[in-house]
């Protein structure tokens, strides 16, 4: 192969790489809860609030409601997903230094969601999203849309609309 051939081949490979980069991507907000990793679509997470933002306890609310916070004069709820995701609390979530509050908003609902650690906000090729396996635990099936591997970590992609809906269902059952 001549040097010109090699050059042209290399250019073709580079072009192929560029095409690969243009592969459809989706923005994900990846976070940790307990020792597991989850993600929401970036489109439904409007803001990340520092975890040490004061959250005011509101009496007579379900245990999964941490309280409300003041966001530039507006009131926003802060909830925990531990119960919904059947996670065991291993630390004081409200005071964990790495914690954050994701402001989630869908057409039907909005709330702050306490997470133990925000890992990253990244664009991920849609080809990396794998459908959930049939063996996925039944309680997760209503709101898990995909699985992916991020930096070697298994991440479960959640549908925020379904999360809100099932969180509310869970509170109704608890009454």
């Amino acid at each position: 192969m001549s040097q010109l051939d090699q050059l042209l081949t290399a250019q073709k490979t580079n072009q192929q790489s560029i095409i690969d980069v243009d592969e459809p991507v989706v923005k994900l907000v990846i976070f940790r809860l307990a020792d597991q990793y989850f993600a929401f679509y970036g489109a439904v997470i409007k803001e990340v609030i520092p975890g040490d933002t004061k959250v005011y306890f509101l009496p007579a609310m379900p245990a999964s409601v941490e309280g409300v916070m003041n966001i530039r004069g507006d009131i926003e709820s802060v909830i925990s997903l531990y119960e919904l995701l059947q996670l065991s609390a291993v630390v004081n979530r409200a005071t964990a230094t790495a914690s954050s509050i994701l402001l989630g908003k869908t057409n039907a609902m909005h709330s702050g969601l306490r997470v133990d650690q925000l890992l990253d906000v990244v664009d991920v090729p849609t080809s990396q999203l794998q459908p959930p396996p049939p063996s996925l635990p039944e309680y997760l099936q209503p709101f898990v849309t995909s699985l992916l591997v991020f930096n070697g970590l298994p991440v479960t992609l959640l549908d925020l609309d379904a999360v809100f809906l099932n969180w509310l269902k869970g509170q109704s059952k608890a009454e």
């Binding site: 005011y56 306890f57 509101l58 009496p59 007579a60 609310m61 379900p62 409601v65 409300v68 003041n70 004069g73 507006d74 009131i75 926003e76 709820s77 909830i79 039907a108 609902m109 909005h110 709330s111 809100f164 969180w167 509310l168 509170q171 109704s172 009454e175």
Partner: protein, 150 residues
Amino acid sequence: MIKQLPLVMFHQDKHWFALEAAYVVGQGKAGLLDAETRVLDFSQLLNLAAQASLSSLSHHWLRLAGSQGRWLLGISAAAELIEMPVEQIHALPPLLQASREFKALQAVAWYQQQLVSLLDARVLLNLASPLLTLVAPDANQVESLPSPAN
């Protein structure tokens, strides 16, 4: 245009609560009651102190419009009348509106950097009805007829 809302605010179990002043027709001390008047402790309604004695927690009371003198809302300390700027009053976030366990909770407000839970007195009246059959007048509290403040 309403700029301020008169509220009767009280402190109970480490939290601030308030009722629209239009629905509160009097307040007084729990020791000054006639034998027929029943005091329903607010904590009982809130279900924060279900195991506590109903009357022992109530040092003061509020008389709500619509209670027809049948009962008083027992609270732990004297209430105060405030004027709440309307811009400090917020509807409950939708998730809390849908999941609240205390249906009288109607809104929240910021007052002197404290969170205040705003209650619907009409719902309180409804919540009280089934509990009133369980609350007998407390003979230890009977002294004389109340003289509503304000």
